[in-house]
Each structure stands twice: as C-alpha cells, then as structure tokens.
Symmetry: C2
Subunit: 140 residues, 2 copies
DNA sequence: AATTAAAATTGTAATTATTACAAATTTATA
DNA sequence: TATAAATTTGTAATAATTACAATTTTAATT
C-alpha cells in the first residue's frame, strides 16, 4: 500500500490541495491500477468515509484529471475509467467481460504527428478492443 | 456526392441489408467525414425522411458499426462520433471548440502489441486531445 | 480564541445520451 | 393474397454525469 506521504506528494506535485477525501481517492487509485470508474471508487471508499458523497468523487476525479495527477480513460462507452499511472501506455478492453488492461505496446514513442495545423497536443491515448484469452475460450 | 450504388455496395459488402434509412445514414456518413454524432445525423436526415426516428438512427449506427461498415469514435466523453472512413487513422479533438479532426500520424503501422496473453484484437484507436490553432489564438 | 471569509463537501434534482420494448409498418415468402 | 420475418417507430426507462444551493470544514484576520 502506498504510504500516505506518497499520496500527498502526488497531490501537491500537481497543485491539488490535500484533503481527506482527495487523499482517499488518490490513494485508492494508486493502490488499485484496475481502471475503476467513479461508482467503483465510491463503493469502496464509502464504508471508510461514511460522509462521502458521490458528487465529491466525481468532482475530485475531474479535479485530479485537470491537474494531470491521473488519467481519464475513455475506452468504455458507458463510463469513464481512471488511472493513477500517468505514463504513456496503451489500454485494452475485452468486449465480452469488460475488463480493462494495460497493454505493453512497442513503438509508441516513435509515433509522429504530421498535422498541417499548429496543434497544441495535451494528451494522447491508444486503445485496443477485442476479446481476452478467457472470453475467447468461453465463446468457442 | 457518393453515388447511390457505392453506398449500397458498402452496406452489402459488410452484410447489411440496404433499406431507405440505412442507405441515407450510410450516405450521410460517406459524404460528411466530420465525425457526426447520432443527433447531428438525425437532424440532417429528418427533413429528408420525415418519418425517421431517432431510435432508428441509433439502431442503424450500432448495426453498421457491429458489421464493420463504419467506425465508432469514442474521443468525446459526451457522445459517440461516427466515421465512414474505416482505414486505420488517428483522431484529434479540440478541448475548447470540440471539433474532431483526422490526424495524419506516422508510425501507426509499426506499433506492436506485446501482450503475454493471447488476445484477439478487433479494433484499435489513437486519440489526441488539445487545442486547435484557432482556439490557441483565442485563448492567448 | 473568536469572527469572518474562502474552500471543500454534500444531497438532491436536473440533464442527456442511449437503450428497452412493444406496437406499427414494411418487406419477403409461401 | 396470406403469412411470416424484418425493420422502423414512439415512448418510456436507464444510468452516468453535472448543476446548484446548502452545509461543513478549513484558513485568515482581528
């Protein structure tokens, strides 16, 4: 489990003032790299912080994302997933069981944008979808 | 404007039985590579097909996507965009004005998945977000 | 320490994209 | 032409997210 100080440092590093709720959400994401959505985060933290509101979870996730402290992963049409691993990496989603993995992909660092326009890129995402090994078998 | 026969062929090629509504939606997407959402498509076609239902637009877009005749672009958290260009290409979304472009990116074909698991990949997407030239200026 | 102001959290209601579903219509088949 | 199958339609339901006002907590000032 991530030490409290590391969680706090992540917030401070990205200019987010630490509070009980923000620390709890950040800690959960750092300890659980399973790309949870807001609901999952709330369900896990609610027993620990009985006053916690779902709105706070949504607000905080948005705040953390805007400050660059976490990534919003839009691989699922249904809801936004979040990731404390902010390094450039690809994601995979199984269309049958819905699980979202990190996917090691070679060559990402060589991608080169060739836009005629002078764009200011702030984020990039690489998403793959398909079927995981388990589901492939089940489908036969 | 795409000839009727080309639209029909696209549907047949992907095993979708052509109907008036399906042809109209497919034609609109082939003629308007602006990554429209269901609402935009409906608003454009409704005057031409006064009996058209929004549900049909949603149903048809899902059908076309499942058959591989179009791409669903999940770059926008709000709603799904659709693209008749089914070749592998990257997309850019401006976080200020919301426009979604195609983005020429070099090196996509060299990306190599290195999963320990035997995944069956059915689709891949590359998304960039940031600010377009116009919006960059406006923000100064 | 008490007072005031600012920031954060909370709860409820609203919004909105999408889907479920059953009825109606159209198309294909016998 | 009658019947079955497929498609379309309209309405209602679902569910993720946001708006917003009230409350609570934290920080700043006296």
């Amino acid at each position: 489990m991530n030490a409290n100080i590391e969680v706090k440092n992540r917030l401070l590093e990205f200019g987010v003032k630490p509070s009980l709720q923000r620390m709890a959400i950040m800690a959960y994401l750092m300890d659980n790299l399973i790309h949870p959505n807001a609901e999952t985060i709330f369900n896990h933290l609610y027993p620990l912080i009985p006053t916690l509101s779902k709105t706070t979870v949504y607000n905080t996730l948005k705040l953390l994302e805007e400050h660059g402290a976490i990534l919003a992963i839009n691989i699922d049409e249904k809801n936004v997933r979040y990731d404390a691993d902010i390094s450039e990496h690809a994601h995979f989603k199984c269309k049958r069981c819905g699980v979202v993995y990190d996917l090691p992909v070679k060559g990402i660092e060589n991608l080169q944008i060739e836009s005629p326009e002078n764009l200011q890129i702030t984020e990039s995402r690489i998403y793959y979808k398909g079927y995981c090994e388990k589901c492939k078998k089940k489908m036969n």
